[in-house]
Amino acid sequence: MSPRRPPLPPAPPGVSRRIVLSFLVSAAGAVGFAVTYGLGGNTRWEGVCLAVAFAGLATGLATWGRRLVPAGGYVEEHEGFTPPPVEQALTAEELTAPDSPIRRRGLLGALALALSALGVAALFPLRSLLPWDRPRPDEALKTTPWRPGVRLVTAEGRPLRPEDVPEETVVGVFPEGAVDAGDAPAFAVRLRPERFTRPPAGGHLDGLVVYSLLCTHAGCPVRLYLHGTGRVLCPCHQSSFDLFAGARPVAGPAARPLPGLPVEVGPDGFLRARGDFTAPPGAGFWSWP
């Protein structure tokens, strides 16, 4: 091929200028970004400068692509994707030739056995994803750190007396020594016993009831206590539970009442649990009792 190249057609004057200007603006944007960064940084200006830099690039390239270079007007042929039947037959023949491994079924079967066994065996180490020294799901989901005698403490670790839960408030309570446990959070409120329409699951101490904080729908903390109505509301999917009726769900997608925590006053005057929750807290699972 001759190395002599066809001459460059002159660009329409406005277009060329516009492209150069775009690229200059782009460069300015890049410089602006570097300067902003160097002067201490500012998220807004950094973003704007980079946006200008890329927008300039985009405008320049787009104008170039649309105005300086002809678009369209070309056609390319398409093989159509059916190779002649001969090719297909030949390929199939190659794969099933007499010396092809696919022909010896018995040996293939044995090979398949070996590979499957290996494949299945290779899956076993996945079990280590759940460490063997940790409880299995059925046990872990059904128990929490609450045990008889475990004191109720606030998030800061301070134990509670019954008078620390007055009527107009809600207090988050945790088992002493396991404040960070994921399934243990509970809340204590004091209600008027004459307003109970159903007995609370964990009993009550002169109107003081303690329930699990985890919504029985998908486990979010039902932290929205609507004082005076006896309702708690879950922010995730708007389930609400009626504390006067044993914390049963009255609206939203939750289907089971909140588990209660039976409590008593210990000899030291502080509140303590009499046992675990009356049901596994939080969302349900297949082997839920």
């Binding site: 329409p12 678009a71 349900g284």
Partner: protein, 566 residues
């Protein structure tokens, strides 16, 4: 010169010239809707570029760390290392917040672009044979993008995403028999476990992106191999692709789109706040915030969880928890339906032919109806995920709004689907060019029975269509060819030169089976004129004319001699 030497150097070692020439000449059809996938691709590139930067600053650990930095409300507080490093990145690392926000905006735009691209592919029937494989790859990439988005915004271990994690854990836990095992294996124990953040990190930064890169490559490779589909039109057959060449036209425009996507993403990243984790606070199992929503592409699941009634049946001694149907079943059916759609459609239409020409959306009213109904369904779910925000803004009781949404999610898709179906039929049966041109008569016709189908148009152009012809001509050492249809005013040039006349003929015959061919000597009179070429031609004509005239005058003077007539 440099280019020559470079090409020769590479070619001497790799012999890439033939492939490169073919690649550079590759034709892409010129329709804006074919660039939607590129928006997704370029957002993905932006995600990788910004993501790599973020990995240098993020500490994927649940261990306690005391945050010390310029964000006063958290200064001195003990949080997880993941959370503290994210707040540090946002407040104490120069350009950190810009990159982090750009990354998150790019994720939202990435999934939105995939969905828009999916809508285009769906309604134009581009998933039909032979492109079902590419459809599977695409749907898989959508799933992976959703998963990666979810792990991405859950990594900083803030309160809002922690609530979302808890919900997903409950949804997986609700799977019968294996649910709780799946959760415990994934988390390494009960929620929230110490291994959660590191495992989210490795999945988000390595496993899923590696899969995505591989799948994107396969996706693009298949498009190159199978060639892009195109809309029917003059000069277009099932055996060719009409449009612009990759080099230089398409390259420039595609790079322009790339730069524009980056520009928009950085503008968003700098100007519009997203996911302010420092305000949300670190995750704690006993804390909550309201309102609590996931990112939009997961919100359809959240909406389903909100709307589904409190139904928790028992099978014998076992419980099927409430999140199972709205979470697992709806989600599972969604992706199953997406994967199965090409085959479902083929079952219904019995169409086993290969298609390289696209449908116009109106050509398939049933597909229109089903697609619009499905989109409406998911859109209502996404909006329902914000029912508490809407309730507060409109001062409506949230449970009233919930009842409205429960009705809407079932009724509205049926309405919009039926409407789309009827409109598509009306457009197809009538002559209206677009929706706005529909007349009453068209709409009335739509409701009637389907008229007997016209004789199916043959794949090959009719032999007796006058005017169509192929012209071949030699140009130096190579041959070129072009297609002409004067009635339609279409002239299309073959995209690359052929070394021999036989190859040119073979290409032309493949692209336009049954069209007459004629060899034209010399360059053809008119190339497809752009403004540039017209100006050039006029200019060169003028110059040639003038120079001919000058030469003629000079010759005359020469003959007469410098001193005048002899």
């Amino acid at each position: 010169m440099i280019v020559d030497r470079f090409v020769r150097a590479v070619d001497d070692r790799l012999r890439l010239s033939p492939i490169t020439r073919k690649a550079l000449a590759k034709v892409f059809p010129d329709h804006w809707s074919f660039m939607l996938g590129e928006i997704a691709l370029y957002s993905f590139v932006a995600l990788i570029l910004t993501g790599v930067y973020l990995t240098f600053f993020f500490d994927a650990s649940s261990a306690d760390r005391v945050y010390r930095g310029s964000y006063a409300p958290l200064d001195g507080s003990s949080t997880s290392a993941a959370y503290a490093s994210t707040v540090r990145l946002s407040w104490d690392v120069r350009a950190g917040l810009l990159i982090r926000q750009t990354h998150h905006w790019a994720a939202l735009v990435f999934v939105a672009a995939i969905v828009v691209h999916l809508i285009r592919v769906f309604f134009t029937g581009a998933f039909r044979k032979p492109r079902e494989l590419n459809w599977f790859v695409g749907v898989t990439m959508l799933t992976l993008a959703l998963a990666n988005g979810f792990t991405g915004y859950s990594m900083p271990d803030d309160l809002v995403s922690g609530l979302g994690l808890r919900i997903i854990v409950s949804v997986v836990e609700s799977i019968p028999l294996v649910g709780s095992w799946l959760v415990f294996l994934a988390l390494g124990g009960e929620f929230p476990s110490d291994e959660m953040i590191p495992r989210l990190f490795i999945s988000h930064v390595f496993l899923v992106p590696a899969l995505l890169v591989a799948l994107v490559s396969v996706h693009l490779a298949m498009i190159v191999r199978q060639k892009h589909t195109q809309f029917p039109g003059p000069g277009r057959t099932e055996h060719n692709v009409v449009g612009s060449r990759l080099w230089p036209s398409y390259t420039l425009r595609s790079l322009a789109l790339f730069a524009w996507v980056l520009a928009v993403l950085f503008a968003l990243g700098g100007l519009v706040q997203i996911n302010p984790v420092w305000l949300y606070g670190p995750f704690s199992p006993a804390q909550a915030t309201s309102p609590a929503q996931p990112d939009w592409y997961v919100a359809w699941g959240d909406g389903a969880l909100r709307l589904f009634p409190p139904w928790e049946p028992r099978i014998g001694d076992y419980l099927v928890p409430a999140p199972f149907v709205p979470g697992v079943v709806v989600g599972g059916v969604t992706f199953l339906a997406l994967y199965a759609w090409p085959f479902l459609e083929r079952l219904r239409t019995h169409d086993r032919r290969r298609h390289h020409l696209l449908d116009r959306p109106r050509d398939h009213p049933v597909r229109m109806g089903v697609g619009v109904a499905a989109l409406t369904f998911y859109a209502v779910l996404v909006v329902a995920a914000g029912d508490d925000i809407i309730a507060r803004l409109l001062r409506i009781p949230v449970y009233d709004l919930l009842s409205v949404f429960r009705v809407l999610v079932l009724v509205l898709p049926l309405l919009t689907g039926a409407l789309a179906f009827l409109l598509a039929r009306a457009l197809r049966r009538g002559d209206a060019a677009r929706l706005g041109d529909l007349t009453r008569a068209d709409l009335a016709a739509a409701r009637g029975r389907e008229p007997p189908p016209a004789a199916e148009e043959p794949e090959q152009p009719a032999r007796d269509r006058t005017g169509e012809r192929i012209e071949l001509w030699p140009e130096g050492e190579v041959w070129r060819w072009r297609y002409q249809d004067p009635d339609a005013g279409v002239t299309l040039v073959g995209n690359r030169a052929a070394p021999t006349e036989e190859e040119a003929v073979a290409a032309a015959r493949l692209a336009y089976p049954g069209v007459d061919r004629v060899v034209v000597p010399g360059p053809p009179p008119a190339a497809p004129p752009g403004r540039v070429r017209t100006a050039l031609r006029r200019g060169t004509d003028l110059v040639m004319g003038v120079s001919l005239l000058v030469a003629a005058l000079r010759q005359r003077r020469g003959r007469r001699g410098p001193d005048g007539p002899a």
